[in-house]
């Protein structure tokens, strides 16, 4: 199995503040991978680097065979962004379009589907996340959880081989959250989709995540970095780092 994502020695500094450094990991194709850590440890920063919104101050990132960092990174980023789907924390739906139009937009831009074909594909995607009934609502008219699910539908519009989901189940009720977990597993098993999640939901992590990276802002004396990589169930049972134990067993570190 080849790696969908290959990250080597990535760092991010803002001014004199080091968010993290020496972050390296690989995500094999067809894996559900999670980025974990307390708030402020740089999870979203790492995600922004992966999806090409932020250039890391050091290190290399290779996604689906495209090197997205360094001097030749711009073309690699464009090629990579054509092949991924991203769901942002709040959904980031376009406020001037209905949910259906939001999901249809990537189809309109990157496929030659006729309008009626785009609409049927978009309806299927909305149905998958349980929003078939809300296709003609505007983003302002739906709840936060629905916006999140619509964001996932839009990220899946082009059936990308790699999906990035930023806190997919935060703020969802347990039933919808469990349905979402099942959808992720289904897509992974049926289509071989690779997932990268940023999440805090312990139940969901233990249920669906194959492997995870844990960041901590005090990993080094002078800044943040990786404190653990591995299967979350193994980390829960055998993790030795105090922050890993704190995260999985809710122990308060002294």
């Amino acid at each position: 199995m080849t790696a969908a994502i290959h990250v080597e020695g990535v760092a991010q500094r803002f001014g004199t503040r080091t968010i993290f450094r020496d972050v390296s990991f690989e995500v094999p194709t067809g894996e559900v991978f999670a980025i974990l850590g307390g708030s402020g440890c740089g999870k979203s920063t790492l995600l922004n680097q992966l999806i090409g919104l932020l250039a890391p101050t050091a290190g290399t990132i290779e996604i689906l065979g495209n090197t997205t960092t360094g001097p030749a990174g711009a073309s690699g980023r464009l090629a990579m962004q054509r092949q991924i789907g991203v769901m942002f924390q709040s959904g980031a739906l376009f406020g001037s379009m209905t949910l259906l139009e939001n999901v249809m937009l990537p189809l309109e831009m990157f496929t030659d589907l006729p309008p009626e074909g785009r609409e049927s594909v978009a309806r299927v995607k909305l149905g998958l996340v349980g929003l078939g009934h809300a296709a003609f609502l505007m983003p302002a008219e739906i709840s936060g959880g629905m916006a999140k699910r619509a964001g996932i539908a839009r990220a899946m519009a082009l059936d990308p081989p790699l999906l990035f989901l930023d806190e997919p189940s935060a703020g969802l009720d347990p039933i919808t959250s469990a349905e979402l977990d099942r959808l992720i597993l289904q897509l992974r098993d049926d289509l071989g989709t690779t997932f990268v999640l940023v999440t805090h939901e312990l139940a969901s992590i233990l249920a669906i995540v194959d492997r995870c990276i844990m960041l901590d802002r005090n990993a080094y004396p002078d800044g943040g970095g990786t404190i653990a990589i591995g299967n979350p169930r193994v980390l829960r049972d055998e993790g030795t780092h105090k922050m890993v134990r704190a995260f999985f067993r809710r122990e308060i570190p002294e």
Binding site: L53, V86, S90, A92, M109
Partner: protein, 362 residues
């Protein structure tokens, strides 16, 4: 609550300063006693807190005790503290001991002249790239968007343009008619108003209306999209925000501005004609004066100027929108910046045009 107020007593016992706190020490009482307690704690020599008569102490009260300890600088002896108050104090000590994040001192306004200039050139460069690569990305330019912005920027502004144009013509004609009448030259008010409207005031006033109504709206729209990560979502889909968000607005503004300028010119001339009629000149005479004073060059020069002003206002609106920082306050700042920047740019451009037209002999 029997005794709702806290009291502070200070006394000296064998060289030790004893601070006695009693009663109910909540946030309100802590505020009242803060300065007094901290000042008393600065006393040299050993310090003791007598908390025996303290009935209640919340986190704010504990924070006061911690502040007093810090002010004293040395160890403080506690006497008579109940276990819960002692625990509260312990927790406050620990919470207060976290190292503070060192931040650079904040200035009220960062005056940096170069940054907006560099940003402006970068924006123009990106815009040029978007225009050049448009044939490849033609799909990203959504025509319905252009019509929508043209409607929002132009069609909906027509009543305002008519009103302001008419009033402007009226005022200009009346104000200039009064002194000109003394020389018996009040017929030439028509010439004066026509030339100034077509060449200067029409485009300028339309640009100000566009900056106030539309430049700010563009900045706020794009700014809130930025805050809501919608711009990030576009980039992550490899869709170009320049082509998807900026170009349609720019094209719409360039399309509607000549129409707005023309409407304003006509309304202004009507306003002027109203005054002239009131002064007793027949409309035919007024029309003849206008015809003799102006040429089509004046009109088209004005319309062209309007188009340039419109593109500048729209571009600045979009640029400030895309440069929006974090949080809801940033959207307001972007909208303000768009109006100010749009008007300043318009007047600068107008100066350039004045120079250019003079050199060209137009």
């Amino acid at each position: 609550m029997t005794d709702s107020t806290a009291r502070l007593g200070t006394e000296e016992r064998d060289g030790t300063t004893v601070l006695t706190l009693s009663g109910h020490l909540g946030a309100g009482e802590a505020g009242r006693l803060w300065r007094q307690t901290v000042r008393a704690s600065r006393a040299p020599g050993p310090l003791t807190f007598d908390l025996g008569a303290l009935e209640y102490c919340d986190m704010s009260g504990a924070a006061l005790l911690v502040a007093a300890e810090t002010a004293h600088g040395g160890p403080v002896t506690l006497t008579g503290a109940s276990p819960s108050i002692a625990a509260m104090l312990q927790r406050a000590r620990k919470a207060g001991a976290a190292p503070p994040v060192v931040r650079a001192a904040r200035r009220f306004a960062d005056v940096d002249i170069l940054a907006p200039l560099v940003g402006g050139f970068a924006f123009l460069g990106e815009l040029a790239v978007a225009v050049v690569t448009l044939p490849v990305r033609f799909r990203m330019l959504r025509l319905p968007d252009i019509w929508r912005y043209a409607d929002q920027a132009g069609v909906r502004a027509i009543p305002l343009v008519l009103l302001l144009g008419y009033l402007m013509g009226l005022i200009l004609a009346f104000q200039s008619a009064v002194p000109m009448r003394r020389f018996g030259a009040d017929l030439f008010v028509a010439n004066l108003v026509a030339v100034s409207l077509l060449r200067e005031l029409g485009p300028l006033l339309s640009a100000v209306i566009l900056a106030g109504r539309t430049g700010s709206a563009f900045a706020a729209e794009i700014g809130s999209m930025k805050v809501n990560q919608e711009v990030d979502a576009l980039v992550a889909m490899s869709l170009d925000p320049m082509t998807m968000l900026v170009l349609p607005r720019l094209i719409a503004a360039m399309l509607v501005m000549p129409a707005m300028v023309l409407t304003l010119d006509i309304a202004g001339l009507l306003g002027m004609a109203t005054v002239m009629k009131a002064f007793g000149y027949p409309l035919v005479t007024v029309m003849h004066q206008v015809q003799s004073a102006t040429s089509s060059l004046d009109l088209f020069g004005g319309l062209f100027k309007g188009m340039c002003f419109g593109s500048a206002v729209a571009a600045i609106g979009c640029k400030t929108g895309l440069g929006t920082g974090v949080g809801p306050r940033a959207v307001g700042l972007a909208a303000t910046g768009a109006v100010v920047g749009g008007i300043v740019a318009t007047i600068f451009l107008d100066g350039l045009f004045a120079l250019l037209f003079y050199r060209l002999g137009l």
